[in-house]
Amino acid sequence: MNKIVQTDPDQVEGVGPLYAAPKKVYPQSVFGTFRRIKWGLMAFCLGVYYLLPFVRWNRGLGAPDQAVLIDLPNSRFYFFFIELWPQEVYYFTGLLIIAALTLFLMNSVGGRIWCGYLCPQTVWTDLFYAVERLIEGDRRERMRKAASADPLKLERISEIVLKHSIWLLLAWWTGGAWVLYFTDAPTLVKELVTFQAPAIAYIWIAILTATTYLLAGFMREQVCVYMCPWPRIQAALTDEWALNVTYRYDRGEKRMSVKKANELRALCLPAGDCVDCYQCVATCPTGIDIRNGPQIDCIQCGLCIDACDNVMKKIGRPTRLIGYDNDINIQRRMAGKPPIYGIVRPRTIIYIALIALVGGIMLYALLTRSLLDINVLHDRNPVAVKLSDGSIRNAYTVRFLNKRGFDRVVTIDVDGPQDAVLHVVGDDSTTPDRPMVVLGRDGTTELRVLVTAPSEKNSKRSIPIKFRITDIGLGEVASAIDNFVLP
């Protein structure tokens, strides 16, 4: 048994239970700058998410014309002018690196602004709260309804049913938009409504409907506080310069009523601006009191700033008692110095430089990558064969990649061994020194290529050999280097 040292008999009730019951949060609606920004970003994010699959992009005949498409059966990823093949997944690695660095940059400038404004969990939860507020009323009303012991009246039941129906509708629409990224959207919509879509589409819609409904409707802030790893990582990445939602305790303490504060100020005595109205706590979607200092539960949504600003305007005190700020500035203000906002500092410069570097490399690679490629694999067993006339032959497995949407004809030739003769297995019709090969569109062609060279003219044990293909229509060239080996 644990013994409790009763330092404060009013607050210590004993060792807590095994679990903490979830604290239901009833965030109050608020108006102000940050709320407006959040509405705007929500509209933008949801707009992009829901409409992007319907944007078209002309890639020519036979190719999908959806701007953003993840074509799993054919292992292709289309993003506007970019078309990625499976062997180019390193672009995704680059994209992930850029995403991580951007998150670090955001974090070093403005703390968890990703969490407060852009994270899907935040956006959808915000949307679900809006629905809830519209149907069940604002904070007070919802709390009253939750606390009332009234038998369920018809009015209340219909409210609940309506709320959950709209939630489910939104969740379903979320899942519906998800699957549209994986196949031609208009076609899939038609199939979905006529119940002819593949089962996997319905399964994914069901999964995403369930998770959206559960996460945005019920788990809400618990996801941010308990499930998401980012708060922990972020806490390790942040520094004293990051602008976090901060209660400026230099202005706020001691808290007191407006009247008392005015009296004290009239006597030129120090007085706090915080009137302890609790508005900041009431609006907070995670239900915390920002006046207790920075804490892991704060998603930095800025709604408490709006709430407090409204109060400050009403009582005629300067706004931003809560604002994006940091401890350094609070200390400076207390010392009578002007605040400084060190947005440009080594950390942010390094992040920006790294983002630019990775982005630049990716862009360069993307713009200079070829749409025609050749890979050569030398036969290992045997590496070289002596023919009856004494000449030496090496065999190679050559893979051609044609990333264009049409068939094309290429010629193959080699540089390296003296008087080398090429032969493509299965192809007797071509000139021996420059065989011609048809490459199917948007795919790979694999051929066995034999290179024969007289041994008298090639005496080195290993001779570098360069395979070169030339598109006879477009003139595009690709090459690969390997070795020609003597026995």
Binding site: V12, G16, Y19, A20, P382, S388, A395, T445
Partner: protein
């Protein structure tokens, strides 16, 4: 006994646990979190029961479902065979020349042929068909019994000196052992044979005598010019490829004791489409005529 106290800053109690003066706040997990945690434990126990999990001394628990990865693989393999079955039928129906013209069939034949080669032919001819002393290299362009597709099929089907009624017959006689040629005659003709493919000859070797012995004894199989005869499996002696070796000692050994390597019969052991695939594979190794 641990002592719990109130932490002034956070307004929370501590658990009473303390390490190096650092006290642990009592922040219990939410109920749903704990439920999820216990559910995963239950799930794991269910797994132990349903699937094979516990190693025993000599075996393991088999699990309530009797699931085994081996059985699963067997099923997959059977399915694969079924899928392949149709394609193999297409392969069986196509003519040899057509297979090499059709890229899809060629790829299939090569894949199937390579697998069959590894299972059946690699012990003698090597996994890449490079052969060894006495076992022909299938990558080069020298063929004892012919290197056209049809000839290769024929050889795979019935082998050489295998005892099958349709097998390739013909053996190199043991000129020394059977007393047909004397020791010095064998040495002389061996040098003659070396000269046929441009190899050096021993000092003081009698060219006229060598040619005479060759014409009297060898031309019936190897031909007047020593170019060999694929009907009899008689190798071309003028090229640069030697099955048993081209040095004088090896040649003397060959002429003295004869050679008669055996290639087994595969008809009956491999189905016709597999033999076809094998032939195509060998043909595309590079030496096929």
């Amino acid at each position: 006994m641990a002592e719990s106290e109130l932490d002034k800053v956070s307004g929370k109690t501590t658990t009473g646990h303390q390490w190096d003066g650092i006290k642990e706040l009592n922040t219990p997990l939410p109920r749903w979190w704990l439920i999820t945690f216990y559910a995963t434990i239950l799930w794991a126990i269910g797994y132990w029961v349903v699937y094979p999990a516990w190693p025993l001394l000599w075996s393991h628990t088999t699990g309530a479902l009797n699931y085994s990865t081996r059985a699963a693989v067997a099923v997959e393999l059977a399915n694969l065979e079924k899928i392949r079955g149709d394609k193999m039928i297409a392969l069986g129906a196509a003519s040899l020349a057509d297979i090499e013209k059709d890229p899809a069939l060629l790829a299939l034949a090569r894949a199937r042929g390579k697998a069959a080669f590894g299972d059946n032919c690699a012990p003698c001819h090597g996994s890449g068909g490079a052969g060894a002393k006495g076992y022909p290299n299938l990558n080069d362009d020298d063929w004892l019994w012919g290197g056209s597709l049809d000839q290769i099929v024929q050889t795979i089907q019935f082998g050489a000196r295998s005892g099958h009624t349709k097998t390739h017959e013909g053996a190199m006689l043991a000129f020394g052992k059977d007393g047909i040629l004397k020791r010095d005659e064998i040495g002389t003709v061996a040098n003659y044979v070396r000269s046929l493919s441009g190899l050096s000859t021993r000092q003081g070797y009698d060219v006229i005598a060598g040619a005479k012995i060759f014409v009297e004894n060898c031309t019936s199989c190897h031909g007047e010019a020593g170019k060999g005869n694929q009907e009899l499996g008689a190798p071309n002696l003028t090229d640069k490829i030697w099955l048993y070796g081209s040095d004088e000692a090896t040649l003397i050994e060959t002429i003295t004791n004869g050679r008669a390597g055996v290639m087994p019969t595969w008809v009956g052991r491999l189905d016709p489409s597999t033999i076809k695939a094998l032939a195509v594979y060998v043909h595309t190794l590079g030496g096929g005529k």
